[in-house]
Subunit: 459 residues, 2 copies
């Protein structure tokens, strides 16, 4: 075992305590009233990066939430890794469904329960602790060059980091990126994610009457924006789940036969998945595709919320002047957000009901990604994980977007190793988010070994 | 001119000043912090009823806001009128859209601007001033027996008065009721409302997954409750606006040919209505019916809000575990809320999408109402209004419910004369609510003459 892994094992308890301290800062990027908390988390991380031995540590203030940057670039002739993570979290509501307070990290059954435990504070913090372990075990040196770039607005679109990468790509020159914001396919099964769906997140605003009207007096004459949105939404997918936007599937790339046959061998039980993860009476989605294909390799469309009108308890008989639907689509390789949005927008506009004006807005988007499994850094990661977990590493795709991975590819021209240690039942974005504590520690060890092996590749 | 009308004209200025004093009490029944104000308005009215000569004046405390009762029952052999009004008001927000403060009544262009000016403080107060005028002009006597019953929670559902009428119907024995909470069809056009739509207000709750899920990871497999609700709602009406619930129109009573031809003669300009009142690009509703038929005599269905999921700014990629649609239907004579709800519920349930569980709940309901235009009190009101306004009185219906009118019919077995003096642009429940001051004074005079003529009918 490497000395760095040994160090990580000896300091495991402290590492977890530090993570708890970070989690207690409620750095909710979506809520303006938590802006100071987001700042505080950035300052906390900058201090920690300094402490462990990183250089050029900087809290970069932006029009949005700050970025945190640090580097250590003294491994001559070695490759450079760009470590990315985000320290902002989703809002915790609905609060009453949490078994312990969302910002008071609580250990139960080998898990750490808290908002941000796994997404992404816990996973991001593994990078810092792997670096600390390597510094300590190697007299203040790392086996490769490292840049760390952390953001505080991943949950609100990541606009600032996207601009930073676009405008300051020279300053970020690296050979590959490491992102730990994905999950293992099953407990104990080392997993690398080599594909991600892209996405477009949109709003459809429907406007009818000039002001809110009373449904008693105007019902039967005034257009109802919610009814209009229901009509539009019901025509976006058929009842079986197939998206009806013309041309939407035209450029969808089918996974290779190798990939499909590998997926078929993964330990996946559809009934178990339905019962324990989803908990619905049936699964939905396009007929003719397996669940893994539907969630990894097929575009999908979801409605997230419909703001407007009256949402309190009881009855208010308003015909609202306007209503909004938040609708997103997941995209797969060879689709582009721009073309998908154009197809969607013109289709939605073609469905405009009488008396209603629709506005279709793009809130944010991300490109779909595929990384070749023969990439040397992916190979190094594969071997490193196998060493720590004593099992063959499996390659999967992710259904969600990590827009930053697209930015790395587009602006820095580098591939990303997506080495994540979340589990499928971690309740991301939901009450009772958790991180398996064993995965936190094995994750740190996996990253240490990965850095050691990646350092052996010609930079 | 009767001496009572003469008295009202001589005291017009004072009457208006008194109304302003009542309006300055911000008796907002929906807001707990205004509970004392609602009480203060009740006490103010009780004092005024005593002052003008009513007897047995009582502020009746209830688990909700108080009722105010008074009577004068010394007109032997004469009919008894039950005067109803409400002294509570809607919240004034959005405050920044008011041109003058909502609780500082302000005269502009012949109107009195304030929250409650017309709904219903101003209209209710006409009854009291008509009674005062009759007492003063007739040596402390009225031409008929009168009960006054005022409530302080009409804007929050009127639960206490409904219970009072149900449980103490003996104490309220009357021959007819007088309610001034409706409007004139056009300025200067004396109007009686002889029909009201009923309603059922419902919620449809759709449940999919057990907890909120991330649409990246589960999109394509987890059922989406908003999409399910959109599918259901889109099947409740066709694109032209016809309700698709089986049997829903079966018992709808068509207005008489007389009524229809009278409506056709009303001064109604559909384009003007669309542009100035609704402000939409087109009106909607069932084909083959005029706007007045659609809003007065046809059932309608509206969606008021869709709580659930993510409604904040920006993007949250949640597949919510559940979502709710608030849906109400307006009912017309010969429909019953119970049957309408049963038809609706079983139809909605039949539309349940795969993987979704639906629950359909009735929040509240009200019966539709029609009063015959040949009713002697309606006839007396018709003649009285014509005398004051020098125009033929028109009969209209109202699209909204006034649940108390149903309670009077059901529990007291009496018809209600709905003689209102609001105008279509009075901004009820909205900023800059107003009451035309001339209508306040002509309303008092109309009610005086109506009481005189109703007193001549055998009780």
């Amino acid at each position: 075992m490497s000395a760095a892994v040994e160090y990580a094992r000896q300091n495991a308890g402290r590492f977890l305590d530090e993570l708890k301290a970070l989690i207690r800062i409620p750095s909710i990027s979506t809520l303006p009233e938590h802006k100071q908390d987001v700042n505080a988390a950035a300052e906390w991380l900058a201090a920690e990066l300094n402490r462990i031995g990183m250089e050029n540590v900087e809290v970069i203030h932006t029009p949005g939430h700050p970025l945190v940057y640090a580097d250590w670039l003294h491994a001559e002739g070695k490759p450079t890794c760009l470590c990315y993570g985000h320290y902002d979290v989703q809002p915790p509501d609905p609060l009453d469904e949490w078994k312990s307070p969302p910002f008071e990290p609580t250990e139960r059954d080998g898990n750490l329960y808290a908002r941000g435990a796994v997404d992404d504070k816990g996973q991001m913090y593994m990078h810092l602790k792997a670096l600390e372990s390597l510094f300590k075990a190697n007299s203040g040196k790392l086996p490769l060059n490292v840049r760390v770039l952390l953001e505080g607005e991943e949950e609100v679109g990541g606009e600032q980091i996207a601009r930073f990468i676009r405008e300051e790509s020279d300053r970020l020159k690296s050979d590959f990126a490491l992102v730990s914001d994905t999950e293992m396919f099953a407990p104990g099964l080392p997993t690398l994610c080599v594909g991600l769906r892209g996405m477009i997140y949109t709003e459809i605003e429907a406007r009818g009457a000039r002001t809110d009207l009373h449904s008693g007096m105007y019902g039967g004459a005034a257009p109802n924006p919610f009814f209009a949105l229901a009509q539009v939404i019901a025509q976006l997918k058929d009842t079986a789940g197939r998206i009806l936007i013309p041309g939407f599937y035209d450029k969808v790339e089918k996974p290779s036969d190798d990939e499909l046959s590998a997926w078929a061998k993964l330990p996946f039980d559809e009934n178990h998945y339905r019962e324990t993860e989803v908990g619905s009476t049936r699964l939905t989605g396009e007929p003719g595709y397996s669940v893994l294909e539907r969630t990894w390799a097929r575009p999908t469309l979801d409605v997230h919320g419909m703001p407007g009108g009256f949402i309190g308890a009881g009855a208010k008989t308003v015909i609202p002047a306007k209503a909004v639907a938040k609708v997103s689509m997941r995209l797969v390789p060879h689709m582009t957000p721009q073309e998908a949005f154009e197809q969607y927008k013109s289709y939605v506009e073609s469905l405009t009901p009488d008396g209603i004006q629709l506005e279709v807005r793009l809130i944010h988007s991300g490109d779909p990604i595929v990384v070749g499994t023969d990439n040397p850094y992916i190979q190094a990661a594969t071997v490193a994980m196998k060493e720590i977990w004593n099992k063959e590493t499996v390659f999967v795709r992710g259904g969600g977007s990590i827009p930053i991975v697209g930015d790395f590819e587009r602006h820095l021209k580098i591939p990303t190793v997506m080495m994540g240690f979340g589990l499928p039942d971690d309740n991301l974005h939901a009450p009772n988010e958790k991180f398996h504590i064993g995965n936190f520690h094995r994750g740190i060890e996996s990253i240490i070994v990965f850095f050691e092996k990646a350092g052996a590749i010609a930079g």
